[in-house]
């Protein structure tokens, strides 16, 4: 729901960095989004298109989103397990429900690529 404002902050961070690094055109922006984050990749793409279209720096740029699976560590048997889309937070090894989420909440701007002229 707040993807547009998230994307605005992505663009702001890239814009500042591009100025500092003397980059005139951005070709690609790469985000990492965990599957247990509330930001939807489709909405992020939509927001990126909407904002990049009106910014000279981002003309023709593409957005790449790497989705991270939800991984948990079982506190009982120490196994790392992947949580599927049914969100059953139960260890497939020992049946324990004492799981700690170790991946899947990510929401960060990994890198961008651009040209200096």
């Amino acid at each position: 729901m707040h993807e547009l404002s998230l994307m605005q902050s992505v663009m702001d961070i890239v814009k500042d960095s591009a100025t500092q690094n003397n980059i005139k055109r951005v070709n690609k922006v790469k985000l990492v989004v965990g599957k247990f984050s509330m930001a939807l990749p489709d909405s992020l793409h939509f927001a990126f298109e909407a904002i990049s279209g009106v910014e000279e720096l981002f003309q023709g740029a593409v957005l790449e989103i790497e989705a991270k699976e939800i991984l948990c560590r079982c506190q009982q048997c120490q196994q790392t397990i992947q949580i599927e889309d049914t969100y059953h937070f139960i260890c497939s090894g020992c049946g324990s429900n004492q799981l700690e989420i170790i991946q899947g909440r990510e929401l960060y701007l990994d890198y961008y690529e651009g040209d200096e002229n």
């Binding site: 729901m1 707040h2 961070i13 980059i23 984050s37 969100y87 929401l107």
Partner: protein
């Protein structure tokens, strides 16, 4: 072609402010509860009943979050509790910055318990740490029992869950059994209280649990 690595956390600014809030709250031994639900599930009514129950025992404060209007703050003020209204003017959630500012403005003496009533929304508020001790999710029987599966993050993040409008259960197709089964998969450790803001059912049980949390926070503070 140049690649610039940033590894910049998009919620980093919020997380920094949430840590600041948390230490400000902890300094005072104050327990802070972030109350979340969809619109119309009865957060404000539950809060009114909770204030009535706890009145006299504890010094309470409330930060009200709404997109527009101060209607909820007015309702809470009538209960004789210090309240600050935040209007997000369109934003779908409260963030730690808004809460920190409101907390500074909150008048009166040292509090024991602060409620933050978030914007009615099961999606975005789950993502934003406000510096609270824990999150409470209110869901009502009229919304349907499928909500934990549809909004797993907020139910996973909750320390405690209040199922409101329990007096209307018989008039809905809400399956209590299915609801409990789904929660057992998503968040097995969260207690679930069956409550009614209208009849007052379950309000005492929920408040006694909450009082236990306030006491253990106080003990840790000493």
């Amino acid at each position: 072609m140049v690649q610039v690595r940033l590894e910049s956390n998009l919620l980093g600014a919020n997380e920094l402010l949430a840590r600041k809030n948390r230490s400000a709250f902890s300094c005072q031994g104050l327990l802070v509860v972030n109350l979340m639900s969809s619109p119309g599930s009865g957060k404000t009514t539950i809060l009114e009943k909770t204030i009535e129950y706890l009145d006299g025992n504890l010094k309470l404060g409330v930060i009200e979050g709404d997109l527009y209007t101060d209607q909820d703050a007015q309702r809470i003020e009538q209960k004789g509790v210090q309240v600050i209204q935040i209007n997000t003017e369109g934003a779908c959630h409260l963030d730690a910055g808004m809460v920190g500012k409101a907390f500074e403005e909150l008048p009166g003496e040292k509090l024991d318990l602060l409620f933050i009533e978030n914007v009615g929304n099961l999606v975005c508020p789950a993502e934003f740490d406000l510096g609270e001790d824990f999150k409470v999710v209110v869901i009502s029987t009229t919304e349907g029992n499928d909500k934990p599966l549809k909004y797993p993050l907020i139910f996973r993040e909750a320390r405690v869950i209040l199922l409101n409008k329990i007096d209307l259960l018989a008039y809905t197709n809400f399956s209590l059994e299915r609801f409990r089964q789904d929660l057992a998969q998503i968040n097995p450790s969260a207690p679930v209280f069956l409550v009614s803001g209208t009849t007052g059912e379950g309000i005492a049980e929920w408040n006694e649990w909450l009082l236990g949390e306030v006491r253990s926070k106080e003990l840790n503070h000493r």
